[in-house]
């Protein structure tokens, strides 16, 4: 065995020595033969000649001996690689252009694929992830109290318990709160400053269901989730352990204080585990039993059937299919709903029950809202970068074709001398593969950097989405395949066509014929394809850009200029609800007096932060039926409308006189006023949040409509409550500042610290940026599509330029003769331009046709622009024509400078 290995290594690395031995061995034979012949009476020359003759072909024999070596293939490969590298170094311009285009192509593909992998493909780092199922699709998060009446994503704790007790299809069943809470807490003893952290509440069996073990210490078990409020324990992430507890000594036993509760760290999750929700990375996991202690909401859904806020994850028992499990879950869900609706269910609930269902979906790749938002854009971008790679391949193929034409004579000579065609093809392909290998490696590096930029672009906050895009096995495999396939795509055609040579004519003539050879025909076809593909990409980019502009042009209803949004965590600092209102009023008052601040107000929600929907009940008007009584709501500080710049239409906004003791008041949006009070003024009218409290709130004012959850929404019925009358631990704090007072922000921070040193302030962002973040998906796709569209255009024009330059160089002769015969500079210019622009126009027509067929596929991502938008098509076509004209003009200009005398003599 070792003998074989040693011989192979020798064969590879001591080739010269082996060759020497082979020569010695055969020479020894010949000499012995010759000696014998001498003895039989021949003279020396004769003896040697006879020996040679009887031996047969020495070279052939040597070649066959070499073939016997098992590393022959490797030897050939090494020889080919050496030769190819020499050639590539000899043509630095070609190699550089090819490498740059290919690196960009492979890099872009790998970067987009990394993101696609993180969002769509990556499995959770748990055993048998394919046996995990999620109840529902996981697209909703938060808390709902409505009776289920459709596909259900959120579940209550009582249902979860009910299911666990009667479970026959799941090995284990775990629950987690459908969202994480952002809180501020102190970690360990050293650092008294509260720091921001994401908390994930989980049921006792959550980790057991996933089937993972602690990286250190232990994880939460059923024992930690038994008695409400009695299990202050926490499991922490690796990141938290490293960043805040040093990551050296075991953190087990350390304390984390959140609000007034001290949690004991019992363990650390495994290193590669970052939770089960894609695009979210909790720092701390706490048992659901601690939910009432956890700010800001202090929810308590332990025994409340309609508090539906959990995601449920189950691990299927062996042998149980998803369909079987789903059937069992449906039965349980139905039983639960019947129990909830009571013995005499209302007609509405009977209806609801008929439409409510649970659909089990695979959970092995994690729960993801990010997935539904980015799946289509990422797939589109994947196609886009795939096309860019194709275009770069076409470019390199064209360059190779041109070079193959130059090398035609050499290749013909080698074929004539007996080289096998296959070995020539192999050598040419090796060259392509080397290019691809180098570009692939550089591309992976580029992608590593690029995918992090992409993640930052895809994030709607100052912190990048926690998506892991470091190259993994799948990503590297992808790049490898992309590189090899590219090499074959751009290398195969030139290699095949270069070695298909008519020996006679090529060797005799020395130059390619003047007529269109098959090579230049392929080259032209490639350019047409490039133009067509780049046009399609640019049309797509144009549509996305117009969508973005249209969305940005939508009026929000408030004045986004000169306003700043702070995030202040008023919940974690240990205030009781009764003190909360005072704190908020004090903060508003103090900050309002800072010079440069025109208005300051807290609010529960500030555009694009989710919604708070619930029905209202009016006292003196027949309310609109059914769904229409559900209105959007917000709780805001006194100066909110001034701070946001929302104009008042009628009545008044909140004042100092509206206190917790006075009549509860509300401000409504114009749409709400029209919908509920079409024929009268809403001022002075009353409504309540329950059927039995219809007089609870008095409407005191009407304000202009504003956008609430997204820019694309219709005007909504919206009610504003006063935060003084409905105290809540809110965190949005909006400031209106005078135009030239950017410097007030540090002063405001100082003022906040004066009010309370423990008041954590995180993000400070202009209202404009806050609104722009709601367009992160459209922004991402518009920017990337434009970038890649322009890149495609650039590559296509390089292709066009290359083909024309090559054809001008080849036709120097012909051009020279024409000029000698009296053709003007203009004639020559026209001929070359016509052939270039002809190709462009063919590509353009194909591209327009292709775009018309393809843009329909992205129509769901467009806004305010049709997939066949004429303006976009015209602008893109004109851009392409102009760029193509420049690309054609340069070689055409060069053609006119051909000196007939030199051109004719040159041949």
């Amino acid at each position: 065995m070792f003998g074989k290995l040693r011989r192979r290594l020798r064969a590879l690395f001591k080739r010269d020595k082996l060759e020497q031995e082979l020569a010695d061995e055969l020479r020894y034979h010949l000499e012995r033969d010759a000696e014998q012949n001498l003895k039989s009476g021949m003279d020396a020359d004769e003896a040697y000649y006879a020996a040679l003759k009887s031996f047969g072909s020495v070279d052939l024999s040597k070649e066959e001996c070499r073939d016997a070596r098992s590393v022959k293939f490797m030897e050939d490969l090494i020889r080919d690689i050496r030769y190819s590298i020499r050639l590539l170094i000899k043509n630095p311009a070609f190699s550089l252009v090819a490498l740059i285009t290919l690196t960009l192509g492979i890099g872009a593909n790998t970067a987009i694929f990394s993101l696609l992998d993180a969002v769509l493909l990556k499995s959770l780092p748990v055993p048998e992830p394919e046996r995990l199922v999620l109840f529902g699709t996981g697209e909703s998060g938060g808390l709902t109290d409505g009776f289920p009446n459709e596909s259900t994503d959120l579940f209550s704790y009582p249902f979860f318990q009910d299911l666990r007790q009667h479970n026959e299809v799941f090995k284990d069943l775990g629950a987690l709160l459908s969202m994480t809470w952002t809180v501020h807490g102190t970690v360990g003893a050293q650092d008294p400053e509260p720091k921001r952290m994401q908390v994930q509440l989980v049921s006792g069996a959550y980790f057991q269901t996933l089937g993972i073990n602690a990286g250190l210490g232990r994880l939460i078990t059923d024992e930690d989730d038994k008695v409400l409020g009695m299990h202050p324990v926490a499991v922490i992430s690796n990141a938290l352990w490293k960043q805040r507890l040093g990551g050296e000594t075991s953190p087990v036993g350390s304390k984390i204080i959140i609000d007034k509760t001290e949690y004991t760290v019992i363990g650390v999750v495994p290193k590669n585990f970052t939770g089960t929700t894609v695009g979210s990375a909790p720092d701390v996991w706490i048992p659901l039993a601690m939910e009432p202690q956890l700010p800001p909401a202090h929810w308590n859904g332990r025994n409340v059937k309609d508090a539906q806020s959990l995601h449920l994850i189950g691990r299927l028992k062996d042998g149980v299919s998803v369909a079987q499990a789903n059937a069992a879950v449906s039965v349980a869900f139905n039983r639960f709903l019947q129990d909830w609706a009571g013995p005499q269910p209302s007609e509405e609930n009977v209806q609801n029950m008929q439409h409510a269902f649970v659909q089990l979906t695979p959970a092995g790749k994690g729960i993801s809202g990010v997935r539904s938002e980015f799946a289509l854009p990422l797939k589109i971008l994947m196609v886009v970068v795939g096309v860019v790679l194709l275009i770069s391949c076409a470019n390199i193929a064209n360059l190779l074709l041109a070079r193959a034409a130059v090398r035609k004579k050499e290749i013909a000579l080698r074929l004539a001398l007996g080289a096998r065609r296959w070995s020539l093809i192999r050598q040419l392909l090796t060259e392509s593969l080397i290019l691809a290998a180098v570009a692939g490696t550089a591309g992976i590096a580029l992608a590593w950097w690029g995918s992090n930029v992409l993640v930052a672009m895809a994030s709607d906050g100052p912190r990048p989405l926690p998506l892991d895009v470091t190259p993994n096995f799948r990503i590297l495999t992808f790049s490898l395949i992309a590189s090899v396939v590219s090499a074959l795509v751009f290398g195969a055609t030139p290699a095949l066509s270069a070695t298909r040579v008519d020996l006679n004519s090529t060797l005799k003539d020395g130059k390619g014929s003047l007529h269109g050879t098959s090579q230049s025909r392929i080259g032209k076809a490639l350019v047409v394809a490039q133009v067509a593909l780049s046009l399609i990409l640019m049309v797509g980019a144009g549509l996305f850009v117009r969508t973005l502009i249209n969305l940005q042009d939508i009026p929000t209803g408030f004045n986004e200029k000169n306003a700043v949004l702070f995030q202040i965590d008023t919940a974690t600092s240990g205030y009781k609800e009764s003190q909360l209102a005072n704190l908020q009023v004090e903060v508003e008052d103090r900050v309002r007096r800072v010079p440069g601040v025109e208005a300051a107000a807290f609010s529960f929600l500030t555009f694009n932060q989710g919604g708070w929907h619930s029905p209202i009940f009016t006292s003196d008007q027949t309310p609109p039926q059914g769904d229409a009584t559900v209105v959007r709501q917000n709780t805001v500080g006194q100066d909110y409308f001034k701070a946001m710049g929302i104009p008042l239409v009628a009545g008044r906004t909140f004042s100092q006189l509206d206190s917790e003791k006075s009549q509860k008041v509300a401000v409504v949006s114009e749409t709400m006023a029209q919908r509920f009070y079409p024929n009268s003024s809403p001022l002075g009218k009353h409504f309540g949040k329950g059927g039995d409290k219809r007089g609870e709130f008095e409407i005191i004012g009407v304000v202009k409509d504003v956008k609430y959850q997204s820019l694309r929404e219709r005007p909504r019925s919206l009610v504003y409550y006063s935060i003084k009358q409905m105290p809540e631990p809110v965190s949005n704090f909006i400031l209106r500042i005078s135009a030239d007072s950017q410097s007030v922000i540090p002063t405001v921070r100082r003022t906040l610290r004066e009010v309370n040193t423990k008041l954590p302030v995180d993000d400070v962002v202009s209202l404009e940026d806050h609104i722009a973040r709601s367009l992160v998906q459209q922004n991402l796709i518009a920017r990337l599509a434009t970038f890649f569209g322009l890149l495609a255009l650039l590559l296509a024009s390089i292709g066009l330029y290359g083909v024309l330059s090559y054809s001008v160089a080849r036709r120097r002769n012909e051009i020279g003769i024409r000029m000698a015969l009296g053709a003007s500079t203009y004639d020559v210019l026209k001929t070359v331009l016509r052939s270039g622009m002809g190709l462009t126009l063919i590509g353009l027509i194909i591209g327009v046709g292709g775009s018309l067929a393809l843009t329909r596929l992205v129509s769901t991502l467009l806004f305010g622009v049709k997939p066949t938008d004429v303006t976009t098509f015209v602008i893109v076509s004109l851009t392409l024509i102009v760029v193509a004209f420049v690309a054609c003009y340069i070689p055409a200009r060069r053609a006119t400078r051909v000196d007939p005398l030199i051109a004719l003599r040159y041949d």
């Binding site: 034979h29 020495v58 066959e64 001996c65």
Partner: protein, 110 residues
């Protein structure tokens, strides 16, 4: 004045080489001499074909090669059977006998 010559079946040459090497290590030229001696002029093999066959056998580890002094005191490459080669020779010889016996029977009786 052509003599009738038998074509060497694929693999037969290798069988013969193994057989010749059974008596002990030999270098290429000696092997050639023995082959001609044993088979007379019936089997026509050129040295050009012997060497590749030897290299193939070496690659398959049926024989191994050592450089050593030849009878006229020059360096030559000697080949000898390995254990695997010995086994291979026995197996192939049995197979050959079986095969040639069967063919002979058929030719005689038919």
């Amino acid at each position: 004045m052509k003599k009738p010559k038998a074509d060497l079946l694929q693999g037969t040459l290798e069988l013969l080489l193994l057989r010749i090497l059974r008596s002990g290590p030999l270098h290429g030229w000696d092997i050639m001499q023995r082959l001609q001696l044993i088979s007379g002029e019936v089997l026509s093999v050129t040295p050009g074909a012997i060497y590749p066959a030897l290299h193939r056998l070496e690659e398959r580890e049926l024989i191994k090669a050592v450089w050593g002094p030849s009878d006229n005191n020059r360096k030559a490459k000697f080949y000898e059977l390995t254990a695997a080669g010995r086994k291979q020779l026995d197996a192939q010889r049995k197979q050959w006998e079986l095969f040639s016996g069967a063919v002979a029977t058929v030719l005689r009786d038919a």
